[in-house]
């Protein structure tokens, strides 16, 4: 289907089903139950899942395929957000031109940065992209917000004001981001017994776009172009010796992933018409690296998993506090309960970053393939266990090799 082989088609269909049914899947607990805090099916969080999913898919096209580790991808996200908000300010609250411009501007920006950065490889490339991103952050944060030429509105962040031109804004169009009159915040809540499910217009827009770009990513991974990028990763020198100029390929990959980041930034602004410089800071670039590595570099589904994983646990961990912990461990004797809560305390609430850092280190050390590799290992292990009798046979054949 759509030029994909059977395996990829089923992967795409699975992803499509999961994203479209996300409001059900992410809300498994009744609203009033104690477990309701583990529900993730509210619009804001679901939007973040897919938006960061798009960002990570794009980053993976660069890092997963070519092996170039960019530490400045958040700059494109920020540029995308800024251009989308400018579209809201100048034209109208319709999200289509905003998203289109954010992709285009981020693309142009990444051509510029990529052309310069890709002249070096390895750690130099990482540091160059880092330097560019920090420079963009500094520019957006202070320089480009002077009264004469206010492009970014500095610390406050760019937002739409009542006196902005908005030349195409219709008289009865909603006064917030919308898609031809359908506001992004429109949410239909369906109550089924004790459960309630939210269907949000913004989420579905993001979800559809994510499926499209996921499909594109599959096509890129399977194309001759994708093969060329993998060849760059495995041995660029040999590629050069065969007389091939690998630079256009890496630049194309860089620009594509920059456009993905711009798209994510544009969508972020479309969900909440605000753009701030902190989106470009290098910690934000680090976050997308974490997502990709955690999910599984170079795999198709990994980055999406990683993005979902990080955003979900960020949300859950920040919510848990000592009282919740006490109620969980109430079955333990008093002294032991306090001790357990005391030990867990630094890792929850505001300590989420500590947990994330430790988790990330563990993944890099023990599981370089990320969650996808972990899943595969687990599957293999289960398969071996369930077959049982095969174990001995395998054990016998191994020494013969």
């Amino acid at each position: 289907m759509l030029g994909l082989n059977k395996k990829d088609t089923s992967l795409l269909i699975i992803v499509a089903i999961l994203t479209l049914l996300a409001p059900f899947i992410l809300n498994p607990f009744p609203t009033d139950s104690a477990m309701a805090q583990f529900n993730a099916g509210y619009p804001d969080l679901m939007q973040r899942f897919v938006i960061f999913g798009i960002f990570a898919i794009g980053f993976n096209i660069l890092f997963g395929l070519t092996g170039y580790l960019s530490f400045g991808h958040a700059a494109f996200l920020g540029v995308g957000s800024y251009s989308a908000v400018w579209m809201f300010k100048l034209l109208s609250y319709n999200v289509i031109p905003a998203i289109a411009l954010s992709v285009v501007v981020a693309g142009l920006f990444s051509v510029l940065i990529g052309y310069v950065s890709l002249r070096r490889s390895g750690i130099y490339f990482s540091i160059l992209t880092l330097a560019f991103a920090q420079m963009s952050f500094a520019l957006a944060y202070s320089v480009l917000s002077n009264p004469k030429f206010n492009l970014t509105n500095g610390e406050t962040g760019l937002q739409v004001y009542a006196d902005d031109p908005q030349i195409l804004q219709g008289a009865n169009a909603p006064d917030l981001p919308h898609l031809f009159g359908l506001p992004m915040r429109a949410t239909y809540t369906m109550d089924v017994g004790a459960w309630s499910f939210d269907f949000n217009a913004g989420y579905y827009l993001c979800a559809v776009i994510m499926m499209v770009v996921f499909y594109l990513a599959i096509r890129i991974f399977r194309s001759p172009f994708g093969m060329m990028l993998r060849a760059v990763k495995s041995n660029q020198q040999r590629m050069n010796y065969t007389g091939l100029n690998s630079k256009p390929y890496t630049l194309a990959a860089f620009v594509i992933s920059g456009m993905y980041a711009g798209l994510a930034g544009g969508l972020m602004a479309a969900m909440d018409p605000l753009a701030g410089a902190e989106r470009m800071q290098w910690t934000a670039s680090g976050e997308v690296v974490l997502m990709t590595i955690l999910g599984g570099t170079g795999t198709l589904i990994g980055p999406v998993l990683g993005a979902g994983f990080i955003k979900y646990f960020e949300n859950i961990f920040s919510k848990i506090n000592d009282n919740v912990l006490h109620s969980w461990f109430a079955f333990l004797p008093d002294g032991l309960e306090d001790a357990v809560v005391f030990i867990i305390h630094p890792f929850i609430g505001k300590g989420w970053h500590l947990t994330l850092g430790i988790l990330f280190m563990l993944v890099v050390i023990y599981l370089p393939g990320g969650l996808v590799e972990g899943g595969q290992r687990l599957l293999n292990w289960i398969r071996r266990k369930s077959v049982g009798g095969d174990d001995t046979r395998e054990g016998k054949t191994e020494p013969a090799e």
């Binding site: 130099y124 330097a131 560019f132 320089v143 290098w282 970053h353 280190m361």
Partner: protein, 343 residues
């Protein structure tokens, strides 16, 4: 002329910090071939050594003094630091006053330990893995260290004042033959610069004039051959990692009075220090020091009103601009050695 000199002086303190951190980074890179993204965190841990020592010195017990009363007429509770009761009020007060310089002695063993544990516990397992993995795992470690410090010390900056004798400013203009009041310079910045010079000189002479340093230099040039000569080079490189950590830590200890330490100061410096290392040339120790001071001074020149009115915001981006230009025109950096990180 005096204006130029003032800007050079203004750049020295930041330049010293850059130079010290970049020196440590280069030591680690040159010996172990590891790109250490957690080096900024070591700088921060050093600064928090000073904070800890200051807290220890200020540990007090309360005595109810019957002779004094507060405004309600109740007997006044007087807090006396233990240090003052042990060493007498005068010496005790001096010790508390000098807590930042004393923290150097406190920080050296701690930083050596931290460096040793870090190398043996984590970095050791990453020699054979690609640079990207090294970057990623040390990046994760930096996050963890930063969050641990944040958990114990909170998110707000903590004041670490310099000793009273070294706070305040000195009129350098008179000493150098300019008009009075032309160059007023905070004493602690001068102290910081001199301290950095001493540390840098110490590291260089350690490498240059001791047998240990000679072996390390030989190992940097050709690790395998040194190993074949029956020298346990890994052990020496581990110690060098500890020394590099100590250099970063000491830079942090003394930086506290210039800028109150907070948990993310390491990250702020790390990015710039990497830029400094690249500009100086990967693996070149003199290059790192030179580039550190150069970029610090350049940043200070870019912060003058003249520069910022000509090109708004130039002070924010100058270092990155220079780095980009250097990397594109002289990929090896100012003093980079051939064959280091050139694939």
């Amino acid at each position: 002329m005096d204006a130029i000199l003032l800007q050079i002086l203004n750049g020295l303190d930041k330049g010293s910090a850059y130079a010290l951190i970049a020196l440590g980074l280069t030591l680690i890179f040159g010996t172990l071939g590891v790109v250490n993204f957690a080096h900024g965190a070591l700088f921060m841990i050093g600064a928090f050594c000073a904070v800890t020592l200051q807290k220890i010195f200020n540990l007090s017990y309360e005595v109810i003094d019957e002779t004094q009363t507060d405004f309600l007429g109740n007997p006044l509770k007087v807090k006396t630091p233990y240090v003052e009761s042990w060493f007498g009020p005068e010496l005790g007060a001096t010790i508390i006053d000098w807590s930042v310089p004393l923290a150097i002695l406190f920080a050296i063993p701690i930083m050596l330990m931290v460096g040793y544990v870090m190398e043996r516990g984590l970095i050791k397992h990453f020699y054979k893995r690609p640079h990207a993995d090294q970057i990623l795992v040390t990046f994760g470690l930096a996050i963890v260290l930063q969050e641990i410090i944040k958990y114990f010390f909170g998110a707000n900056p903590i004041q670490t004042p310099p000793p009273a004798a070294l706070s305040g400013s000195v009129d350098l203009g008179v000493a150098l033959g300019f008009d009075p009041n032309a160059i007023i310079y905070p004493i602690w910045r001068l102290v910081y610069f001199l301290f950095a010079v001493v540390i840098i000189g110490g590291v260089f002479s350690f490498l240059q004039f001791t047998t240990f340093g000679m072996v390390v230099r030989a190992g940097m040039a050709d690790r395998e051959t040194v190993g074949l000569l029956g020298i346990n080079i890994d052990r020496r490189f581990t110690i060098m990692f500890g020394i590099a950590a100590a250099v970063a830590g000491l830079a942090g200890v003394m930086y506290g009075p210039l800028n109150p330490p907070n948990y993310h100061m390491g990250m702020d410096f790390l990015v710039l220090s990497f830029v400094v290392v690249v500009v100086g040339g990967m693996g070149s120790l003199p290059g790192a020091v030179l580039a550190g001071f150069l970029l610090g001074i350049l940043e200070s020149f870019a912060s003058t009103t003249w520069a910022t009115t000509t090109i708004p915001g130039i002070n924010q981006i100058i270092i990155y601009l220079v780095a980009i230009i250097v990397l594109l025109t002289r990929p090896r950096g100012l003093m980079g050695r051939k064959g280091v990180m050139e694939e």
